[in-house]
């Protein structure tokens, strides 16, 4: 443990020089922004890939100009081959799940705000923190390297099921070095995430300010803390899985490849491995990963809703306990991804039960949000709209989970667009709504300038309507048997579904274009936005007690003392209807 503590790192003068300040910074705020920027880059790429896929699905013979420059083999003459379609969806899924949904709500906002919200000067191990970002960036670069190598990106999907992911280039284009790069990238990503999670946990346990008991931490701090506990265990399992996969691919071992496997007319020189083993290891990580993506957004949304309603939730404690129980249950449900994998059918039953049990804490949380909103005089702005949108998406996407959790129904729905619609809404869009809400809420604190409110609300309505238009019809497509991962549906039984696919594609293109408003707003507000006051939303938590943007040591060398629970709204304080956490004035009653 070669590491200096936060206290020591900051005993010295503030960092000087461009490199230390902005590039190899030890400051958790800069690192948080770096994570955010990386997520922004990854989400732009991931969205561009989904545009290409949607376009190809409905206009399979239309030339996409310039695409042949990216991959001559994958898109000869600008027309995507079925294999390249699979490459695109693999990269889309990998970029989105790892580099967007893990990075943005958890690593980016968590890094920036967790130390501030608990009253710390920095993370517990600033050097590890810097390392975890640069490791994650390395993972990203290794992954996108797959686009430029001759082999091309892998075609295995983001889950990379063995044995095809393990046998090498016999399995198709991109399954040689492309797949190697994927496995190496994810292994590196695991290391970065483990370092990050370790840092989050140690920081939360040990660097809280005087008076900041665990139960006085804001809900989003709790969410990041619980998420880091999940991430610590999940990535600790994915890393060995990736190591074994890399060995199968490069060293001739047979962990995942069974005997007598013939791929591309070639008997594979392996024996005795278990393809199901990969699925078990992968989903033991993969299901908790879903909660790594969604829990931070739940925390952010609760934090913002309370501030916008100007009153506490019915029970913040129960929200925290629900997040804990979701985190706990996430370890018992991985098999529900494998109902039709050839696993013992009796195990399906065992996995189905805890899966359905998860709906209990999820429903409790939703009920608390809805019940608190009932009769509340909520302040409508871009941040609170996206927070409300999160609840809508979470419920709409979550309800289809009831169906998928039943093994007998899943036999029909598995690997159809129903599943794709389900996880895009509940994990993808909902989590991203949390990120949007957090961005509109905290941008002023992060940069010192407020985002444009009108553009923000316009962005919300276009995105909200757009994402429903895209993903609601997915459920219908799945119910009528439209299988996922097919690259075209021209002449088979799915032909009549083409008009609906066209509608979805147009909605996707429009919703994607609406994100340009957000990008413009980010860049414009960064330089031309109204200067952000210290506490623009009349918030109570510690991030609102310091200047915007915060100085390099957060609290200007002072150590805040905490006197209150985090959400003292709807009370009579000297500043209005709220009392800050670090204000010594007594709360009424």
């Amino acid at each position: 443990m070669e590491e200096t503590s936060a206290q020591q790192a900051h005993v010295h003068a503030p960092p000087e020089g461009f490199l230390r300040k902005y590039v190899f910074s030890l400051d958790h705020k800069v690192i948080g922004k770096q994570y955010y920027a990386l997520a922004l880059l990854a989400v732009s790429m991931g969205m561009a890939l989904s545009w290409l896929m949607r376009f190809h699905l409905v206009w399979p013979t239309t030339r996409i100009p310039g695409l042949e420059l990216i991959s001559k083999a994958g898109a000869p003459g600008g027309i995507i081959t079925p294999e390249y379609y699979l490459s695109l969806l693999t990269m889309h899924g990998t970029l989105m799940v790892f580099f967007v949904l893990t990075n943005a709500p958890f690593a980016a906002f968590g890094n920036f705000f967790l130390p501030i919200q608990i009253g710390a000067e920095d993370m517990a191990f600033p050097r590890f923190n810097m390392m975890s970002f640069w490791t994650t960036l390395a993972a990203f670069l290794v992954l996108i390297l797959a686009f430029v190598i001759p082999d091309g990106p892998p075609i295995s999907g983001w889950t990379s099921y063995a044995p095809l992911s393990a046998v090498g280039k016999d399995a198709g284009p991109g399954m040689g070095w492309g797949m190697n790069l994927w496995a190496i990238s994810i292994a590196i990503f695991c290391i970065g995430s483990l370092l990050g999670a370790l840092n989050f946990i140690a920081t939360t346990l040990d660097l809280r300010a005087k008076g900041m008991t665990l139960m006085r931490m804001p809900i989003c701090t709790w969410a990041w803390f619980i998420t880091s506990c999940i991430a610590l265990l999940a990535f600790a399992v994915l890393l060995p899985a990736c190591i074994l996969l890399i060995l199968d691919r490069t060293a001739g071992t047979s962990f995942f490849i069974p005997s007598g496997l013939v791929v591309s007319d070639r008997l594979q020189p392996h024996s005795g491995g278990s393809p199901l083993l990969w699925q078990h290891l992968f989903w033991f990580f993969g299901h908790p990963e879903v909660y790594i993506a969604i829990l931070p957004s739940m925390g952010i949304v609760s934090h913002i809703l309370i501030n916008s309603m100007r009153k506490p939730l019915l029970s913040a404690r129960v929200i925290i306990y629900s997040m804990m129980s979701i985190g706990f249950l996430s370890w018992m449900v991985w098999g529900h991804h494998m109902f039709v994998s050839g696993m013992n059918p009796f195990s399906s039953l065992l996995f189905s039960f805890p899966t359905l049990t998860i709906t209990i804490p999820a429903t409790i949380m939703t009920m608390i949000w809805m019940g608190s909103l009932y009769g509340a005089n909520i302040r409508i702005n871009a941040a609170s709209l996206f927070a409300l949108g999160f609840i809508s998406m979470f419920v709409s996407g979550g309800v289809s989970g009831f169906f998928l959790a039943q093994p007998s129904i899943d036999i029909v729905l598995h690997a159809t667009y129903f599943v794709v619609g389900h996880f895009h809404m509940v994990m993808g869009v909902a989590s991203i709504f949390g990120v949007f809400a957090g961005t509109y809420f905290w941008f002023g604190k992060m940069t010192g300038r407020m985002m444009n409110e009108t553009l923000g609300q316009l962005h919300f309505w276009l995105t909200f309507i757009g994402t429903y238009c895209i993903f609601m019809p997915f459920h219908y497509l799945g119910l009528v048997g439209n299988v996922r991962r097919y690259s075209a549906f021209v002449n088979d039984y799915t032909g009549p579904l083409l008009p609906l696919h066209k509608f979805i594609t147009i909605a996707a293109l429009c919703t994607g274009a609406a994100q340009l408003i957000f990008i413009f707003n980010l860049i414009y507000s960064r330089y031309k936005g109204a200067p952000a006051p210290e506490n623009p939303w009349n918030g109570t938590t510690l991030e609102w007690s310091i200047p915007s943007p915060p100085p390099w040591n957060n609290f200007g060398g002072k150590h805040p003392v905490i006197y209150h629970d985090p959400y003292q709204y709807d009370v009579k304080g000297s500043k209005g209807d709220y009392i800050m956490q670090d204000s010594p004035e007594p709360s009424a009653g």
Partner: protein, 216 residues
């Protein structure tokens, strides 16, 4: 009325608002909060345990998945290596004991501590070299990484553990460098965290040895 949704504060808020107080770490005033490097190392140990649990469960699943599981005889040198690693934990404890007295009895205690740390380091190297020798002996029998599932797991588990021990060696060297550079003023928390990690390496190895012996 109180609209707080949390429990009412039972303990009165800290009376002192002395916000400039100290370079002492703020959180220390909290009951139950400790040294970040100690919690950091325990969290790390937890993650490493999880990783090895994953490797072990992969071993169990793989054993049951096909009939190609064959017995391999462990190279006897492993027991010597085990002894070296356990001894290194003992010498590290001696170093801790010596260094615990540092502020009062400086030069002598620092020298004693450094000596025991040197012994720990040497035993660590003996362990790693011994593990390497065990690999060579297996290879001499024609057992390589990809020969059969048992040898695969043998190499993977020992290599992963060896990498972690090497990381511990690097940490020990850095800690010793600190002690040499700053004498009595070295930071104990880093040393203590390294010690915890090193002991864990021994415990992890005992577990792995048990798995290798009973399963391979």
């Amino acid at each position: 009325m109180s609209s707080t949704i949390y429990e009412p504060v039972r303990t009165p808020p800290p009376a002192s608002r002395d916000s400039t107080a100290s370079g002492a770490r703020v959180a220390k005033v909290l009951s139950g909060a400790g040294e970040a490097s100690q919690s950091g190392i325990w969290v790390g140990i937890f993650a490493i345990t999880m990783s090895f649990a994953a490797f072990t469960s992969a071993l169990f699943v793989r054993q049951g998945s096909a009939a190609d599981w064959t017995h391999i005889a462990l190279p006897p040198i492993l027991y010597g290596n085990t002894l070296a690693l356990l001894l290194s934990s003992a010498t590290l404890q001696m170093a801790r004991r010596a260094l615990a007295a540092v502020p009062s009895a400086e030069p002598h205690a620092v020298r004693m501590g450094l000596g025991w740390l040197m012994a720990t380091l040497a035993l660590g190297f003996v362990f790693v070299a011994g593990q390497f020798e065990a690999w060579r002996q297996l290879a001499a029998q024609g057992l390589y990484l990809a020969t059969n599932p048992n040898s695969s797991f043998y190499y993977v588990l020992t290599a992963m553990h060896g990498l972690h021990v090497l990381a511990g060696i690097v940490a020990l060297v850095l800690v010793m460098g600190r002690i040499v550079a700053s004498g009595a003023a070295f930071r104990k928390s880093t040393f203590e965290a390294t010690a915890t990690y090193w002991h864990f390496m021994g415990v992890l190895w005992l577990y792995l040895l048990l798995v290798l012996r009973t399963k391979l």
